[in-house]
């Protein structure tokens, strides 16, 4: 029963979600279920925080190398969560200060690392080894030069630039035609995969998420 009941819950919930989607009278239940979802996920944060604490406290107690960093992590966690829960998250609070001057710059900088990584990835892709990689490289290159002003200027030096403006190639052909076609094929394929997996879960065929038996 320890396996059957959860599977029944999954199937019933799933069928309810499908039914309320098609029945306007009950439509609001879909929103309510999704809100329940966020509430349950909220409770789950206790597990998450517990896991984070366990791993770090373990390192600290073992005095593993670099345990000082784990102290910082735990401090950050407690200070931020404590301030937010007990003092509020309005502008002007200490929570807001940490958010603005620690969290936001860290986030933005981490994100901006992408500029370097995209360059190194592009560099690697330039060593095209197969026809597929070559295609990726060529399209990427064409689109890239189309996105920078100098690319347009360079293109206009070419003899056929008048008949075939760079923007037409990029907008109409590369982006509008091939990119759309490729993205669409992926999306269509993926959506079939999503529907199939969902159905398998509802039918109880795919149940690995439940983990062990008894």
């Amino acid at each position: 029963m320890r396996r059957e009941i959860p599977m029944a819950i999954t199937t019933i919930t799933g069928v309810i979600m499908i039914v309320v989607f098609f029945v306007p009278m009950w439509g609001h239940w879909s929103d309510i279920f999704l809100k329940w979802f966020t509430v349950i996920a909220g409770f789950a944060l206790v597990l998450g925080a517990g896991s984070l604490l366990l791993v770090n406290l373990n390192k600290i107690s073992r005095k593993a190398s670099g345990w000082g960093y784990n102290v910082i992590l735990i401090l950050g966690l407690f200070v931020m969560a404590g301030l937010g829960i007990f003092q509020g998250i309005k502008p002007g609070t200490p929570y807001d200060f940490i958010f603005r001057y620690i969290f936001t710059p860290l986030s933005a900088t981490m994100f901006s690392l992408l500029a370097f990584y995209i360059a190194s990835a592009a560099f690697r892709a330039f060593k095209a080894k197969s026809p597929e990689a070559a295609l990726l490289l060529i399209t990427a290159f064409v689109v890239m030069i189309g996105r920078v002003p100098i690319g347009e200027v360079m293109w206009n030096w070419l003899p056929w630039a008048k008949a075939l403006p760079l923007t037409t190639i990029i907008e109409d052909w590369v982006m509008g035609c091939f990119n759309t076609a490729g993205q669409r094929a992926i999306m269509l394929g993926a959506s079939i995969g999503i529907i199939s997996t969902s159905l398998k879960i509802l039918l109880g065929i795919e149940r690995s998420y439940l983990g062990g038996g008894e």
């Binding site: 373990n58 986030s107 981490m110 995969g193 509802l202 109880g204 795919e206 998420y209």
Partner: protein, 922 residues
């Protein structure tokens, strides 16, 4: 056995659903209620729901019954007309399988006649005659657009005459006093030889009895104001651009024969505003410059044409409006120079000038004349400010405003300029005196005191027959003119708003004030004035010499600032406030003023009624959570009815007691039928193959490159004695990609357990972590190595995208896993992960259905599972026949899609578009 039962259960559910749509039959309904017509005599209201497959209901309030319902396409904008027990319904648009227009019996809903106007869009309202209904449509077929004028017999629904048609796009239609129609069409013609189309505006008169063209007149240029007909003359103003100069022409056409009565070119720089109003059949036109003309269009000579002319010397913002023989115009005037009474806060201004320690204020100081400077320096405390010193300071500041030198971009490089300054600079390449003043003033405002900016509004009253001002001087409105000016009884009501500041320093708050002033129309004398905090949002309601005003404002309750409304009843005669009523939430309907109550609905889902006499709450009826009132309120005898957003129709007594509530929502959302069919089709394909696979049918599945590499990757990690890193993506378990990833993780974890290689799973979501622990534990159990399972290796980091990435990057560079798996949903972080992983020299296998992230995985990883392959992977790895069966089912689903695409495209090539219609869900 359990599975089989579930399988049957699902099938049964689907069959039941399928039967329910068949039973639902005509149950078309929409989400929101839109058009409504009410027949007072029978107490029957006809109401339409908005949707592609809309329904129109006939509800008897008196008998508390839904009498009938008919399906109509697109009820938003549906024309409902009740006449002699008949309801005429005309949809704005044609939708397949539906009748565009019909006439039904109001009591029974029995259809007298119905018509479908294929591919037509109604562009005008419906005009009803004694026995005919008329409207114009636009019909589109491929690239050809036709404008058609239809006339239908009210009795039979047959067309009275072959619809008049002309190629072109619809511009406007007007009806003359004789009942004929003037159709204005932008007609396209092919020019000789060339590919380009030539556009001409045509004005065509169509006889209402025959549908034949009486005359046609091409019009040059485009319309500045659309034609209007009065006393047999059609007036309009057109514009043309010749050599970059706008030329506007006033024209008058004889409605009888289409002959031009007069044309007059409007002088350069003049621009007419809005539509004309008519006094004794002749138009009164206002110009941007503030000039008002009363014109006789039948005269050709300009001197005879203009009956009177008046210059108001300011920009008309409202009107003209004509009441009996009174012409009301509201105008706006902007003063560029600062006047002494405009400065609200002298203290602040003075201290800023005295200190002048910012680049901007020091620039002002620099430009001030010696005299003003010494005056400012001489004042030590604000009390010393007297009339003279104030005047000197103002003069000094005005001097700067007129100074061309003041504005120089360099001086204000670091100052964030008010939007208006930037707009001014961008808009005008050349700055004339006026514009420089405007610019300088804006600049000064953004540096100094913001309150000095003010537009002044004036109301002018003219005698319609002579054009003479009726008042000594125009009435100056306090603040910003807010609502249309109108006359009620013998009071001219003017509304305005302004900001009011209260408190000082940190406690300083700005309040929106709304003001109503009643004037004597004869001499503009103020009779009374009412001022309240709030913002006017809806037009005022008037009944029996009482004015009902609804003001929006924010109220604080338990530390929470909430928007709310305040109702005020004001006696128009003396301006006394009879009562006020404060609501706790926002009113989201207009006010329905009835015999003895004001009714309205609130956003929280309350229908509320307030007594007209005392402003006391009569009732508050709760229609349901956030179930807003979504139609107008109709009242008959002691009952009232209204529809709400979630599709209910309520009938209440005037005391607020519920008499009856109907649920007008259908049991099946028919507009979602394509989704339903799609789901059914795909599910059956999948179920079919799952079923057959279970029966033992062998199915072939091709090798998927990324998956066969898994063994290699785990093997290498074992050889190197390094761990395996597995990332399930950023999404929670609400994303199927995460679930697919967890399933694959089970297989990989089993491998690592067998090889005795640690697997590290840092998680971004707590639920995912909790699930992942179970999955990995199970895998270790299956591999027979439960002792080597390390719970702490599957741990949570943070929900935050980049915080998580930072953490995982740290793990990668420190633990140096030999194999990295990124399977699941990823966003921008995909590349950071993949590149860091690459730099540590790990074998990387990625997989996601996010089309936007795939390029980066393809570029930076050794193997990538693209889109559907991610979902197929768990089936492939499980070797479970049912899962393999589902893969075959997926292939069939793709075959269906391919068929739909190819057949649809072929059909579309031959202009057959029903496949597209089948796929559209809205």
């Amino acid at each position: 056995m359990v599975n089989k039962r579930k399988y049957r259960f699902l099938l049964t559910t689907m069959i039941v659903l399928a039967i329910s749509i068949l039973c639902a039959g005509k149950a078309f309904a929409g989400r929101n209620w839109s058009e409504q017509a009410f027949d007072k005599q029978t107490g029957i209201t006809v109401i339409g729901a908005e949707n592609k497959f809309a329904r129109v209901f006939g509800i008897s309030i008196l008998n508390k019954k839904v009498l009938w319902q008919v399906g109509m396409p697109q009820s938003r904008g549906i024309d409902i007309h009740i006449e002699d027990e008949k309801v005429y319904l005309v949809s704005p648009e044609d939708v397949r399988f539906q009748k565009t227009m019909r006439a039904v019996n109001i009591a029974t809903g029995e259809t007298y006649w119905a018509n479908r106007l294929k591919k037509n869009k109604r562009r005008t309202k419906v005009y009803y005659d004694d026995n005919t209904l008329y409207f114009a449509t636009e019909e589109k077929y491929r690239d050809i657009i036709k404008v058609k004028l239809y006339a239908f017999d009210k009795e039979t629904g047959k067309t009275r005459w072959t619809p008049y048609w002309i190629r072109g796009t619809f511009k406007e239609m007007l009806r003359t006093e004789t009942g004929d129609f003037i159709l204005i069409v932008l007609a396209s013609q092919k020019t000789e030889g060339g590919k380009d189309l030539k556009h001409t505006v045509k004005s065509i008169k169509i006889d209402k009895n025959t549908g034949l063209e009486v005359w046609e007149r091409p019009i040059e240029g485009s319309f500045v104001s659309f034609p209007k007909e009065n006393s047999g003359v059609i007036y309009f103003i057109t514009q043309k651009i010749i050599d970059n100069v706008q030329k506007m022409t006033f024209q008058a056409i004889n409605a009888e024969d289409g002959s031009v009565l007069s044309t007059h070119e409007i002088p350069e720089g003049e621009k007419p505003l809005g539509d004309a109003i008519f006094y004794q059949g002749k138009p009164i036109i206002t110009m941007e410059s503030g000039k008002v003309f009363y014109i006789d269009g039948t005269k050709t000579d300009i001197s005879e044409m203009v009956l009177w002319e008046k210059n108001l010397d300011s920009l008309p913002v409202f009107g003209p409006k004509i009441i009996e023989n009174l012409v009301l115009v509201a105008t706006m005037k902007t003063n560029y120079l600062i006047s002494i009474d405009e400065i609200v806060e002298w203290e602040g201004l003075l201290s800023q000038l005295k200190e002048h320690n910012t680049p901007a204020t020091s620039r002002i100081w620099e430009l001030l004349d010696e005299n003003t400077r010494s005056v400012i320096d001489g004042i030590t405390s604000p009390e010393e400010l007297n009339e003279n010193s104030r005047l000197t300071i103002i003069e000094g500041l005005n001097g700067i405003i007129s100074n061309k030198e003041f504005y120089a971009r360099e001086s204000f490089k670091e100052v964030k300029l008010a939007n208006e300054v930037n707009t001014l600079l961008n808009r005008f390449s050349k700055l004339d005196e006026n514009k420089i003043q405007r610019l300088n003033r804006c600049l000064m405002e953004s540096i100094l005191v913001r309150e000095i900016s003010q537009n002044r509004y004036y109301i002018h009253a003219l005698d319609a027959s002579t054009g003479k001002s009726l008042w000594e001087k125009p009435y100056m409105v306090e603040g910003t003119l807010e609502l249309p000016v109108f006359i009620e009884g013998d009071r001219l009501i003017v509304g305005s708003r302004s900001k009011k500041e209260e408190g000082e320093g940190k406690n300083k708050t700005t309040k929106q004030m709304f003001r109503i002033v009643a004037l004597d129309p004869a001499n503009a004398r103020e009779m009374w004035k009412q001022e309240q905090e709030g913002k006017l949002e809806n037009p005022l309601s008037i009944k029996d010499q009482m004015l009902y005003v609804m003001l929006y404002r924010k109220v604080e309750e338990n530390d929470v600032v909430k928007p709310a409304h305040l109702l005020i009843a004001i006696n128009i005669g003396d301006g006394t406030e009879r009562w006020t009523y404060a609501t706790k939430t926002v009113i989201n309907t207009k006010l329905y003023v009835d015999e003895d109550s004001v009714d309205f609905g609130t956003k929280a889902g309350f229908a509320t009624s307030v007594g007209l006499v005392d402003g006391k709450n009569i009732y508050k009826f709760f229609a349901g959570i956030n179930n807003e009132m979504d139609s107008s309120i109709v009242t008959v005898q002691n009952l009232l009815g209204f529809a709400t957003q979630d599709g209910k129709y309520f009938i209440l007594t005037k005391q607020g007691k519920k008499v009856k509530a109907f649920n007008l929502k259908p049991w099946f959302a028919l507009w979602k039928l394509p989704i339903f069919i799609g789901c059914l089709l795909l599910s059956s394909a999948l179920s079919w193959y799952i079923y057959h696979a279970r029966k033992g049918k062998k199915m072939f599945i091709r090798r998927i490159a990324g998956l066969t590499a898994i063994d290699e990757a785990v093997g290498r990690a074992t050889e190197m004695g390094k761990p395996v890193l597995y990332i399930t993506g950023l999404a929670d378990v609400d994303d199927i990609q995460t679930l697919a990833s967890l399933s694959i993780m089970g297989h990989i974890a089993q491998k690592t357990a067998e090889y005795d290689t640690p697997i590290i799973v840092p998680c971004c979501r707590s639920v995912v972590m909790s699930t992942a622990q179970e999955v990995v534990k199970e895998s270790y159990l299956k591999a027979g190595r439960p002792d080597t399972y390390r719970k702490e290796n599957i741990h949570y980091l943070t929900d935050d995208q980049f915080g998580y990435v930072a953490g995982v990057d740290g793990i990668m560079v420190r633990e140096k896993p030999a194999a990295n798996f990124y399977l699941g949903k990823f966003y921008a972080e995909s590349l950071i992960l993949a590149e860091t992983g690459h730099s540590t020299g790990a074998i990387q296998i990625a997989g996601t259905a996010e089309a936007a992230q795939l390029p980066f995985f393809v570029a930076a990883c050794d193997y990538t599972l693209i889109g559907e392959e991610l979902f197929a992977a768990s089936a492939y790895l499980s070797k479970d026949p049912q899962q393999i069966g589902s893969l075959k089912g997926q292939d069939i689903a793709k075959a269906i899609m391919l068929a739909v695409i190819i057949i649809g495209c072929i059909l579309l090539t031959f202009d057959i578009d029903w496949m597209k219609l089948l796929l559209s869900t809205q």
